[in-house]
Amino acid sequence: MLASSTSASAEARGTQRPALALRTVAPALGLIASRRAALVLMALFLGALALQALLPQRGTVSELQYTLWRSRYPTVARASEALGLDRVASTPWFWALGSAIALSLTACTMRRASTFLRRGPPPRGREAYLNLAPPPVGTSPAGQPPAGQPPAGLMDIAASLRRHGYLVKLGQDGLSARTGSLGPWGSVVFHGGMVVLFLGVLVSAATRFTGFVELAPGQIFQEHSGYLVQRAGAWAHQEPDFSIGVTGIGVAFWPDRSIQDIWAEVALQGTEGIVAQGVVRRNQSLHLQGSSLTLGSPFGPAAQLSFRLEDGHKESRGYVNFPVDNSGSRSQFKVPDTVVTVHAELVGGWREFLENRYSADQPRLKFVTSDSHGAATEYDLPLGEAVTIADGELRFEALETWALFMVSRDQGLPMIIAGAVLAFAGLAAALFIIPRWITVTSLPGGGWRVMYRTPWGTGSLLRELRELTGTDTEGT
């Protein structure tokens, strides 16, 4: 008896448990799927965006610009930093807000899609009606229609509605018609597309990386130990999984010396030989194994140097890259296998030389070496000549142009693009296909009563009805 009562109460609990869980979860789900919650979340997101746009964000503006702004508005800056408003996009609350929006979108989409799949889009908008006067005498066929057939006037209205793309169901003394069913579905597709886009953003945030490497003609990517990779705001070295060989870099200038164009001839080599080759220029990337190779903005002169030990057996080659806008700025490099550090700058007509190899004013490399004891020696090395340093000979072999190459990989991108395309298609349908429901019934004294329902765009519907029925609705 006791056992049976225990099992009975367990059964009762078993039946109660899901109901309780449902009672707990359902309101939360209902709340997150509600239109009110969606609107509140959008308003919060809008506020976050406004703050983000108005306050300088670290990582978006340069450190120098941020410091200048900070010194100009110290109180605002302190408050902004204390609240994490100097990095809104990377704060946990911003991501939580984004996740809540994604959840709300998913819940709304699922709820609406399930309703539509079960019953189809329900009629929306207020129901209204107008009465159409009977057609003037003589314009309609005389006599009653044959038994079982709708009246001729109704047939005319039905034909007219069909011509305008309405789906018409004819009855004995009336008809019902609807059009624009795709419109409500468009809204579902739009919200679904936004969910896919949000998922893509999450995948992208977790997997995307962008690597940068400076290369000059003759250099191969794998000569470097790796390239700098930016991932989630941190910098690290990444071992390359393919090599980039650069055979040429070209730059064209406008008359005011601003850059007209920049391009590079490259060959990408994977494990199975050369897999892609061609010209990379601004806005024209090369793609390989899910990665894309793009040319960045910076470029400049690259001095190719070789260093040979006195015994002649060991030779090293390397490049020193100089910024294009300031040839006088100093660059630092180490002569291989020695303890000598060299500070260098380009002088002479290096800019002219890059455009014309036969320029009269040949470039020179001015540099200072300091040995392990700190003793400095100054050199002025013309192109093609060599000097003796430490235990070897340093030669200024060539002057080339270096360019910044960017390798990026984003596994979330296909999802983002698919989501954006879906969302756009859905939005276009939702905004411009207006669903309409019409019922036409005959009035006892002749003429027709047209019941219509549309969520919006009543004005154009009335115009359409006027055209369809050939009757002036005004005054009826």
Partner: protein, 279 residues
């Protein structure tokens, strides 16, 4: 050629000023003939501005999107062109000239005060996505401005003759002018909202090739997303909460005002790479 472009530009500016005066007179004295004249003067301004932009394009070798002068002049061109197209198809839209003409006059005036020297196009600018981004931005701004202008006019009318604006719901339901105007403004906002989505998407694709990142939370990028969300909220309020009639007109005007004020605040406060192209 730049001198000829400048002359045509000043002629367009003068025509816009004249159109503003003509539309104001037509509205105050309710003279449809004067309103028609306003339309003609606006069309003349459009022709002049087209000539000015075409000549400048030919002289500089790039489209009108580099620098504040070119940007504002081309936005103004899009606004006037959109208005002319609309009032050609929809008679009631003609009254929006009262908003379009002074807005264009103001934009052209600010453009006239901005440096007009031709700028060279950097390699990053040579992209199909930039064309889509810039071209669609003009359509979006023109349609949203026009929608707000139409709503403002309907507000003026409804304030002059207080009347509850609701959909027809009873016997003999009629299509009133104000309802037609409301539908027109909703359609324009919908178009602007849709096109703004294209602007943001194309801008992201271009930014990836120019700056190496699809989205970098640059203030102008963030502002465009905020504006999109703002209009999204407005459309939700219209379609889901039935904020119609006078309330819709107020909402539409307010949304544009908020977006414009935010942009103005950005102009003063923010440090955006976009200003390189718009200063």
């Amino acid at each position: 050629m730049l001198a000829a472009a400048h002359a045509a530009y000043w002629a367009a500016l003068a025509s816009c000023g004249s159109a503003t005066v003509v539309f104001a007179i037509g509205t105050v004295f309710r003279k449809s003939l004067v309103m028609k004249l306003g339309g003609v003067v606006t069309a003349a301004a459009f022709v002049m501005l087209t000539v000015a932009l075409a000549l400048r394009w030919s002289a500089t070798g790039h489209g009108p999107y580099l620098g504040r002068h070119e940007a504002l002049a081309s936005y103004s061109w899009a606004l006037i062109g959109f208005y002319l197209l609309l009032q050609w198809r929809i008679f009631r839209a003609r009254a929006a000239g009262l908003i379009v003409a002074p807005t264009s006059f103001f934009m052209l005036g600010v453009a006239a005060l901005s440096p007009a020297a031709a700028q060279f196009e950097s390699p990053a600018m040579r992209s199909t996505w930039l064309w889509v981004h810039v071209g669609m931005a003009k359509v979006a701004v023109a349609s949203l401005l026009l929608a707000a202008g139409i709503s403002a006019l309907s507000l003026r009318r409804s304030l002059a003759r207080p009347r509850r604006l609701t959909g027809p719901s009873g016997p003999g339901a009629q299509e009133s002018g104000l309802e037609q105007v409301e539908e027109l403004s909703v359609r324009l906002v919908s178009l602007g909202f849709l096109v703004l989505a294209v602007v943001i998407g194309a801008g992201a694709l271009w930014a990836n090739t120019a700056w190496g990142s699809y989205w970098s939370w640059d203030p102008i990028e963030t502002w465009s997303l905020a504006t999109w969300v703002l209009y999204g909220m407005a459309l939700h309020l219209y379609h889901q909460w039935h904020v119609t009639g006078v309330r819709w007109a107020w909402l539409n005007v307010s949304v544009l005002a908020v977006a414009a004020m935010l942009l103005l605040a950005l102009w003063v406060l923010s440090l955006s790479p976009h200003w390189i192209y718009l200063s």
